[in-house]
Subunit: 409 residues, 2 copies
């Protein structure tokens, strides 16, 4: 009943939010940014309730850090919202247009997805993207951050109300129990799309339990393959960057694939470089012949470590590399380092991932880096959107057809 | 275990099928068309087993007719396949391209979805579309048509084998029990997308039980709204066409919405015209004041009759019409008949459907009519594709990024 009311509110709101002018949507976003800054004390006080509870329950330091809101972070959130306001409008783009022989004119035009459900483990920084794209959102956060989420949502909804915009454009599910989450995932009557953001476990649970269409994001077992004709320094540089520049992200390199003919030239140099950051190498038999390392098991090749660990598999050809990567990757981002144009073409075509790189670090898979301006996540599925998802990926389209009485014969 | 093997076969096939040249894919399709014609006797004999079983089990005449294969229908199937071969290639289209400041070049290029599961109640006429778009398919038909489906699949697979193409590009699930269907819908490890084709009940069951992303197609409760400033003859003509030209299709009009100010001028003329086809009218109170008709209940407004029945609701404004339609439609196709440009704009923007018409019959929502060349179905969801789905809608995309050693700072 509780969720049904939220669902009905959202559906009612979607018909007006999608029709707001670009100016109005941007204006509201700027006012939300101002209001968050103005309410800094309130937000920090509410966040402190969650934070203190986390401390008393021995929450991990990294999670506590993610939970914490201070003045600087609120400034960061406000700045992010202002930036979204400045991006190009994803709505009302004419995607194609034609007049048929019978005089009917068909226009394909971008429209909001409608009601987007967002299930997230950390803070709601995506509301600006859903609002900018004319969508209505229903947010479901965890119990750990409930007071912070309620406070942020309250500030946003107060602005919407003041601006005469349906405040149900942004709703938070205030019940944090498991049953409510389960019911939310079956709210097909009201919710058009569900986007889970967070751990691989959270995303898998949503995929397995939701009857609403889900956009799967996040999980990344990314590979760098060094071909036999590669520039060794470039390879070492790319692998070091992809593995260690930031270990906890989905586009970090987790597994290395090396052509047998280059392993002697590459592996000792690479091992020395990775030692700078104390990266643990887990290699197969042919790797161990060249460098000291831990034994890699079958399980290692399929693992997203998110840690200072990398697995190494040796192969005899680019074809074998492609087959290995297609078997173990998560279809996120994979890279070939080679000077051989033909091998690169095979790899770019053959590896079935959202982003396939040639002589570039996998760390570039990112909405900002790709020039989308912002991102709501990185899709690892094939339907709708693949790779970094920006504002355009939060839209659907409709056909409008105009004529003068055409009927079908 | 049986499905796991089919899944593994499909995944192995997808890496080669997606890389076949356009010429090869078209050539194979033309050979499949020839082979179906050559095997006419065999196909008819196998179909007769299903047909006779249907007769002995008192299958409905309309279903028997749909099940039956004769020489003419095989010619039609072959002709359809030839037509698909002649369509533009949906693969390897460069969707966008740019070079970033750091020299990285990003290309967004269309690729197959991968493994498409198709659950269908009637015959497999979609295999040509999936193959043309570089996809691998796993087909699941009903027990009623199992011998026909096995025969058609055999003919196709024999051609693939002869042409040195992985025959697992097309596989049929030969077990027709319910449990196998249930397991198939959870084959996420192997299947990228599931497309159910058939009754509203079948589609709903798949949406509720599948953990694989589903493309929802088909169900259509389409409306025609006649505004107060409409051309009466045009309105009667469009409604008559949309309601009666073919009653069993998803783009047929099921419900009429009429502005109160025009009901006296419209309804008697319309009732007289609909009488030609013995259409039953179910109207609200304000309709009954003008013409003789059956009482419309709340349930009528949400119903896809697929029959010679139409419901009529009267409203006082275009806004009320939009709200009524958004409440009861299936987001498929809806039409406004009006000479008032402003009302038309409101309707085209405000009605949340895949196809919204102004002064055109809803019957045009169709891949062939829209110039897509063919269609695999009409999507009524917001993700991925909306409205008629042709070859392009059977593709995803990938980003390929090339550079000379770029790393992220």
């Amino acid at each position: 009943m509780y969720l049904k009311t939220l669902g009905e509110n959202a559906v009612n709101a979607k018909y007006t939010i999608g029709l707001l002018s670009e100016e109005k949507r941007n204006d509201v976003l700027l006012k939300v940014a101002d209001a968050l800054l103005k309410n800094t004390d309130y937000l920090i006080a509410q966040n402190k309730i969650d934070y203190d509870k986390g401390v008393s329950e021995n929450m991990k330091a990294s999670l506590l850090d993610r939970l914490m809101i201070d003045e600087k972070r609120i400034e960061g959130i406000a700045e992010g919202i202002r930036q979204v306001a400045s991006l190009e409008d994803p709505l009302n783009r004419v995607l194609s247009e034609k007049t048929l022989a019978n005089g009917m004119h068909i226009t394909k035009i971008s429209v909001p997805l409608g009601v987007i459900g967002i299930i997230y483990e950390s803070r709601p920084n995506v509301t600006a993207l859903t609002f900018k794209s004319g969508n209505v959102c229903i947010l479901k956060g965890g119990s750990d951050a409930i007071n912070s989420n309620m406070a942020i949502t309250k500030v946003i909804r107060d602005v919407l109300k003041e601006e005469n915009v349906d405040e149900n454009a942004v709703q938070l599910i205030e019940k944090t129990d498991r049953e409510t989450a389960g019911e939310f995932m079956k709210l097909n009557e009201y919710v058009d799309v569900l986007i889970p953001r967070g751990s691989a476990g959270l995303i898998k649970a949503v995929v397995n339990n939701s009857t609403i269409p889900v956009i799967e994001t996040g999980s990344g077992n990314c590979h760098v393959y060094v071909d036999k004709d590669a520039d060794i320094d470039m390879a070492v540089n790319i692998i070091f960057n992809a593995k260690t520049q930031r270990i906890g992200v989905c586009n970090a390199c987790e597994s290395l694939v090396v052509h047998k003919d280059i392993r002697e030239a590459l592996l000792p140099k690479l091992a020395a470089k990775l030692k700078e950051k104390d990266v643990e190498i887990r290699g197969d038999k042919d790797t161990k012949e060249i460098i000291d390392c831990v034994d890699a098991t079958e399980e290692d090749f399929g693992k997203e470590y998110l840690d200072y660990i990398i697995s190494v598999k040796t192969v005899s050809s680019v074809e074998e590399a492609i087959a290995h990567i297609n078997k173990y990757n998560t279809s996120h981002s994979d890279c070939i380092v080679t000077n051989d144009k033909e091998a690169a073409d095979k790899f770019l075509k053959g590896v079935d991932s959202a982003c396939v790189y040639h002589n570039v670090s996998t760390r570039f898979t990112d909405g900002f880096e790709f020039g989308l301006g912002a991102e709501i996540g990185i899709s690892t599925q094939k339907l709708h959107a693949r790779g970094p998802m920006g504002l355009n990926e939060l839209t659907s389209y409709k056909y409008t057809i105009t004529g003068n009485g055409q009927v079908r014969g």
